[in-house]
């Protein structure tokens, strides 16, 4: 087994772990974290390929740098979006609870 095979296996496992969790998990923040893990997996494969020759391939290093920056950008946006949806759901749940409470009060007045 070569170093390339080992790091490809590590990267592919990271990518699959992240992808599966992102698709199946219910919690939105966990999905953001999972997407980050999957992104890290792609970078591990990319840099394993870059490091296979005697002089590491700078073009792939630059692609990895770009990937890291894009990842942090979508993480920030994703966290804001997840918070927003959580808040909207919480507000909806409160409204429903209040409506249910009001309905009960009306029911109580009637007899």
């Amino acid at each position: 087994m070569t170093a390339l095979a080992w790091y490809s296996a590590v990267g592919a496992t990271l990518f699959a772990l992240g992808l599966v969790t992102m698709l199946v998990a219910a919690d939105r923040f966990r999905r953001v974290v999972a997407l980050n893990v999957a992104a890290a997996g792609t970078l591990v494969i990319l840099l394993a390929v870059a490091g296979r020759s005697a002089d590491a391939d700078p073009v792939l290093h630059v692609l990895a740098l770009t990937g890291i920056v894009i990842t942090v950008a979508f993480t920030g946006f994703g966290v804001v979006l997840a918070r927003r949806i959580d808040d909207a759901e919480a507000a909806e749940a409160t409204e429903t609870a209040e409506a249910a409470g009001a309905a009960e009060e009306i029911d109580g007045d009637q007899p």
Partner: protein, 348 residues
């Protein structure tokens, strides 16, 4: 090629364990903290595959900035929501996904090894080394970033800009009832934000925000650490011309200083109002200006203006570092739900 050494195996196993724990634990904060640990392990892994630039960026951006974003987002709402009750259906979904994931791992590894064995995908190291004589900077990664593959870098900083604008718009869309007061605040805040100098402004900002006094230890630490952080950011930026470092790592260091300051209750006034917008956009604009000048003078779109390649590259890099720092810090402030603070000096 030799087999994986003991360091390779140890780092790889540590990365896998950290990732599995980060994705498996229920508590959001534990998950995020483990994810930060994973970032540290990844930085080690990047050094093990001889990618020092990526290791620096991972430590500063992938771990530092992402960690700050995630921790701040989950710190005030630790508990995850109630799990859905359909235990059997979820179990089937997880089992199917795990099987598919295992197949994906095998396919990916086989694909990488087949591509390596076919010899079609030769490394570009030789091509880059040949072209280095025409580059304005001496470090190959910086040359690829700002010269050979400038389009990638331009679009990358544009992505940050779009993410900042999108997150900001999403967070500052206030509920209908509060809209009127928000508009008044922001117009008043503009005058304050644009007239206040940077250091005086942050002092005033911390005083105005003082309903909960920031931790004294953090403030003291910040007084000592922020000059060091700024110096380190500048060093990383200029070292990028001839050794690992550059605009992204330097910019992330700037963002780190700003995020620490925001944690201590004194978010830099430079990020507010018009100054903040200028800081976030100056990088892409400087890149476009230099690229346009190159198109006019050298006939190459995104070519640095001939004759002043080296100073133009350093100027564009500096502008990029400022924009990246301001963009990441603004994202952090937006996640903290303080869009008003970014528009103007109103305490949230």
């Amino acid at each position: 090629m030799t087999g994986p050494g003991i360091v390779d195996i140890a780092v790889g196993v540590a990365v896998l364990v950290a990732a599995a724990v980060a994705l498996a634990v229920r508590d959001r904060l534990t998950s995020v903290v483990t994810f930060i640990l994973l970032g540290g392990m990844l930085a080690l892994l990047w050094t093990a595959v001889r990618a020092p630039d990526v290791a620096l960026a991972e430590a500063a951006i992938g771990t530092g900035a992402t960690g700050a974003l995630l921790v701040d987002a989950v710190a005030d709402r630790r508990s995850t929501q109630a799990r859905s009750g359909r235990g059997r259906g979820r179990l089937v979904a997880w089992a199917a996904a795990a099987t598919g994931g295992a197949g994906l791992v095998v396919a990916l590894v086989a694909g990488v090894l087949a591509a390596d064995g076919s010899g079609d995908a030769a490394p570009l190291t030789g091509a880059v080394n040949e072209a280095m004589s025409s580059a304005a900077v001496g470090h190959d990664i910086t040359a690829v970033l700002l010269d050979f593959r400038a389009y990638d870098t331009l679009l990358e900083v544009s992505v940050i800009l779009v993410a900042v604008v999108g997150a900001y718009a999403l967070a500052s869309a206030v509920p209908p009832g509060a809209a009127a007061g928000h508009a008044a605040d922001s117009s008043a805040g503009h005058a304050v934000g644009s007239s206040a100098g940077s250091s005086a402004g942050s002092a005033a900002g911390s005083a105005a925000r003082g309903s909960t006094p920031p931790a004294a230890t953090l403030v003291d630490f910040l007084r000592v650490a922020s000059p060091v952080l700024l110096l380190l950011a500048a060093w990383l930026l200029f070292a990028g011309a001839y050794q690992p470092g550059g605009a992204f790592q330097g910019g992330a260091m700037l963002a780190g200083a700003a995020i620490l300051a925001a944690g201590a209750g004194a978010a830099p006034a430079l990020l507010e109002g018009v100054a903040g917008r200028v800081a976030v956009t100056v990088g892409p604009l400087a890149f476009l200006a230099a690229g346009g000048a190159g198109a006019l003078l050298a006939g190459h779109w995104l070519h640095m203006p001939p004759g002043i390649e080296a100073p133009a590259t350093v100027a564009v890099e500096t502008a990029l570092a400022v924009s990246i720092g301001a963009g990441l810090a603004t994202l952090f402030l937006t996640v903290r739900r303080r869009p008003r603070q970014i528009i103007g000096g109103d305490p949230a």
